[in-house]
Amino acid sequence: MSTERVATRQRETRLLNPWHALERWQTDIRGILSARVLESQLGFRKTWYLGALTLGAFTIQISTGLLLMLYYHPSIPQGYADMKDLEFVISSGTLLRSLHRWSAHAMVFLVFVHMAKAFYRAAYRPPKELNWVLGVCLLLLTLLLSYTGYLLPWDQLSYWGTTVGANIMSSIPWFGPKLRFYMLGGHTVNANALLRFYVLHTMILPLSMLTLVSVHLWRLHKDGGMYEVDEEGRPLLHAKDARASGEEGIALGKEKTLSYSDLLFREVTAIEALAVVLLTIALIWKAPLEQLANPMHTPNPAKAPWYFTGLQELLHYFPPFVAGIILPGMIVSGLIFIPFLPIFDNVKTYQAIEWFRGKRARWTTGAVLILVMSVLLVRQHAWDAVAPFWIVVLLTSFAAGYRVGPINGFRKWLREKPVSFWIMTLFLMEAVVLTAVGTLFRGPGWSWVWPWRG
């Protein structure tokens, strides 16, 4: 036969042979994984592997969740009975339930810290601004997942936590009560609510979470992986790295480089470390379970889990609509619009100190803000909401410090920080302080109580 027909024959057999198909995939994957990047771009110091840890926590959630689903019936008497069965009868049932509970807390914590870390390394700047928005959606999904999951054991805390949450929902004017009606599938928290929360918690939210996460990861790579990329997608190196690499490509010489497989390898180690920590906690502390839900008796205090106590703290100060809907709404939309607000555009590094000194308008806004805060403090004794504000003001004034001594070390670092840094730090501090006060310092009737006197 002619060589040409032989070639086509070989090509055809190659095409038909499954092993060859596998090889082609292998080369693709190896291609992606073998791309080498500067360690400084990819190392632990840059991301603390928080994204990977969150994903690790999520995988633990899914695996333990699926196993728990084998024994859990979402119905009023049987649901709680299954919790008892898990605790007493099913081999290592307590471990799975505790692991599910603690890794839920861990996942929420990790998502918060991951978001903060991403922000502080300005990972929201183009081309990754949409990926940032995706991250915010994932944060909301995580909170929703844990809120719906909280009702399933159907004990006192879950029943009353859900009731409080549902009533916040109904405080939205016009369609609030209607929204609550659809959320609970009735006017009170009972069988319908449990079933809807169950479907949300086990089907809708996890699936949407998975899709969004995969999109989130896909965009991560498309937008240039960990290291910054300019418009044409060429890696944008920091001045320091640029100098080291010399010309356009990366003459990496003595710099240590990392391939993606190395990064993956380290992230898996980090995830295993997280699993070890969570497993030990689950083995030592049992997931708390209270009496069966009793609509006729509200336990005092009816505290939400720690990630919602900040919100509950706000509710203590402001009417439900303000604290329940407006403030959280503003925070979330604020987060989403961060990449699109000029103030956050770090390319033109807005030195906070210079930015502030110049304009008269900015002085007036600052003064108004301080006035509002002090009224809040006097009227509502909401000093725990105001304290972070004062801390930020103190830090900026310390950074500014005008003519006092040489500017070096921490003060110098602070002075270089842009305005966006201060805004984010303020809101993060607010969140942390409100959560800490809500969790540790609030006793029956949401009264102030010193934790050691408990």
Binding site: A81, F88, S91, L95, E272, V276, L289
Partner: protein, 685 residues
């Protein structure tokens, strides 16, 4: 320095490069992950089951026990009763009676009881958390579970969740329920029973509508301060009033008292009391002859109570009542208090005078010695009325101007499952529900000075019985499915027509019970009509004497007119027949002399009836059953025959054993019994 480097080398070895870090963290993860199943292997119930296997290995019947033993978690699952009890996971030997000599739990067999294990499970009786397989969760109250194990001494309370009738195995519960009714708890507290009915009080608190006629303010004052000083066995509780409060209430009671029907009755012309010394001598004779002791108890010198508990104790009645009231009361008690249980005895005036004088000698000088009340005024009466309303006196006593309060005290229908977080324990008292209830009964005011509940004079066993009865009132009891509830039919029978009014006037049902309604002190008259002969009944009504000489409680003489006696006898003979009792079941001709002789031989030798019955006063001394010396006059032969055949069928609950007599033997015995006549009557049948 050396410590520094060795540590450094170890760290370098373990976590030097990413690959080493991965390796060491994977090893740690493997170790931690392997702990999980092992943690499951060392669970508490496996420890107990291993101990059980060791225990039975070297017992004589170890092989059989080993075969019966099933490892793993055992569960009694009864879906329709919502029971999932896993107690038999650790209490492995519940059904192994050969382990009865084991003194230490959890390997004891279940002692004999009326139900089987898989009929109701364990939690329905013992409380505790059935679903648990650890000791702390199963036995004690924790955040996840509020019903700790019921202490063994209150176990009878669990029987009360379904059974409302008095059971043989629950003496303490039966006593507790009787006390709830007798001590008037049911007046203030609503206690719903498993079949939905409420516990009805059986004590008869006297009406206070005309108290002014009966006694003085001073007596009321000392009674309110401490009732038991006047009458030891009184069920009146002590409200611990201050002197001022007691005076105010006494003033109010006297001021609200109005004229009773008796007070308007004309006083008899020739009414003079015999002198005290003569009353002291002849009084006891009249008092004894009228058998007042059958209902009224008196405390003798040694302090022991003699007499019945149906009526109030009259040890010190002399220092309480006014002469005129007593005289009119003995004449017609219903005139003063229409609802009293005391019959109208139709005494003649001489008897009334003697009785009044005798009762007035029963005085206690120092009862009212140092009680001096200043005259009553309007404010004191107002304060008294407010106090009476606040403390709910009208819940028990009928008082003019105060309506009986509704829902005055907390509803106790579900006190047995009161969640512990709603209970205010005293400092230092054990935090369990039984201790709270018994503590509240013993001293209510210790839980809060503002509480209105008075203190009752109860001894320890009575408090324990009351606690048991209250612990039976659980959520499960009140929501018990009807097919499980064993309720007691509420008998409301009262005789009708003018004979009914006569029997009402004589208060027959205070002592006798007819068709299930009435007292338990005297025989049940439900089937008397088919038992007794007419002649004997008429004589008995004329002057009743006892069938049981041993007992001090006798039927009193009512001095009935012949016309009343005939009316009563005819009513009883016709109305109170035994159901399905044909009086011709026995042809009287067969009761000839031969049969009587055989009967005598059966009576005295084969069945030794003389052990319990007296056939001939000279020879026999058996006090258990009624005297049969004149049974020939008293009972109809057919009744005797049917009674001998099966006593319990004819009179349920009788103590007479059923010797399962053959027909012939029963006829012979009846023939013999028919010959037993009161000597003076003699003559043909």
């Amino acid at each position: 320095m050396t410590a520094q480097t060795t540590l450094g080398r170890v760290i370098k070895f373990l976590a030097g490069s990413p690959a080493r870090r991965f390796a060491s963290i994977s090893v740690v993860l493997a170790i931690v992950a392997s702990i999980a199943p092992t943690k499951d292997l060392f669970s508490e119930w496996r420890y107990y089951q291993r101990q059980y296997k060791q225990l039975i290995r070297h017992r004589p019947d170890g092989a059989r026990l080993q075969k019966n033993f099933q490892g793993g978690i055992q569960q009694i699952w009864i879906p329709e009763r919502h029971v999932t009890d896993r107690c038999s996971t650790c209490h492995v030997a519940l059904q192994e009676n050969s382990l009865a000599d084991q003194r230490k739990q959890p390997f004891r067999p279940h002692p004999p009881m009326p139900h089987t294990l898989n009929e109701f499970g364990c939690v329905i009786c013992h409380n505790g958390q059935g679903a648990a397989t650890t000791v702390t969760e199963a036995h004690y109250s924790t955040k996840e579970w509020e019903q700790p194990i019921l202490p063994t001494r209150y176990l009878e309370a669990s029987c009360g969740q379904c059974h409302m009738e008095p059971l043989e195995g629950t003496p303490q519960l039966n006593l507790g329920r009787r006390l709830l009714a007798r001590y008037g708890c049911a007046h203030c507290h609503a206690i719903t029973q498993p079949d939905g009915s409420r516990i009805m009080p059986v004590d008869e608190p006297p009406s206070l509508e005309h108290i002014g006629e009966k006694t003085s303010r001073e007596w009321i004052f000392s009674w309110l301060k401490n009732p038991q000083v006047y009458a030891v066995s009184s069920t009146m509780p002590n409200f611990r009033f201050s002197d001022q409060e007691a005076t105010d209430i006494a003033n109010f009671l006297v001021s609200q008292s109005d004229a009773s029907v008796n007070s308007t009755a004309p006083a008899p012309a020739s009414f003079a009391l015999p002198p005290a010394e003569q009353a002291a001598v002849d009084g006891p004779g009249v008092y004894g002859m009228l058998f007042c002791a059958s209902c009224h108890a008196t405390q003798n010198s040694k302090g022991a109570l003699l007499g019945g508990e149906l009526a109030p104790e009259i040890t010190r009645v002399g220092s309480k009542v006014k002469v005129d009231w007593l005289r009119r009361w003995l004449k017609a008690p219903q005139g003063y208090d229409p609802k009293t249980r005391m019959p109208r005895y139709r005494f003649d005036d001489k008897q009334i005078a003697m009785l009044t004088a005798y009762l007035l000698t029963k005085k206690d000088e120092d009862l009212l010695a140092n009680v001096h009340l200043d005259p009553s005024d309007r404010q004191s009466v107002e304060r008294g009325k407010k106090l009476a309303t606040d403390y709910g006196c009208a819940a028990c006593h009928r008082i003019n101007g105060i309506a009986p309060p509704e829902g005055f005290a907390p509803d106790l229908s579900r006190i047995g499952s009161k969640p512990l977080f709603q209970v205010g324990f005293l400092r230092g008292m054990p935090e369990t529900l039984p201790d709270y209830i018994s503590g509240k009964i013993r001293d209510p005011r210790a839980f809060g000075p503002a509480l209105k509940m008075p203190r009752f004079t109860l001894d320890d066993s009575q408090v324990e019985a009351l606690t048991t009865a209250l612990l039976a009132q659980t959520d499960r009891a009140v929501t018990m499915p009807p097919e499980l509830v064993r309720s007691v039919p509420l008998a409301k029978y009262h005789p009708g027509g003018d004979t009914g009014r006569l029997m009402e006037d004589l208060r027959c049902q205070s002592c006798h019970s007819i068709n299930g309604n009435g007292g338990e002190m005297a025989p049940d008259l439900t089937r008397e009509g088919s038992a007794v002969q007419r002649g004997w009944l008429l004589d008995f009504m004329k002057n009743p004497d006892t069938l049981r000489p041993a007992l001090i409680r006798r039927m009193p003489k009512f001095n009935l007119s012949d016309e009343e006696i005939h009316k009563l006898s005819d009513y009883m003979l016709n109305a109170y027949q035994a159901p399905g009792f044909d009086s011709e079941a026995l042809d009287l001709r067969s009761l000839d002399a031969g049969a009587a002789a055989r009967g005598r031989e059966l009576f005295y030798t084969k069945y030794a009836c003389q052990a319990c019955h007296i056939a001939d006063y000279k020879k026999d001394k058996g006090y258990v059953g009624p005297a049969l010396a004149d049974v020939g006059d008293r009972l109809t032969p057919v009744w005797m025959y049917k009674w001998l055949k099966d006593p319990n069928a004819v009179a349920p609950g009788t103590v007479m054993p059923n010797p399962r007599l053959a027909d012939k033997e029963a006829k012979d015995l009846t023939a013999f019994l028919v010959t037993l006549r009161a000597k003076k009557k003699g003559g043909a049948k």
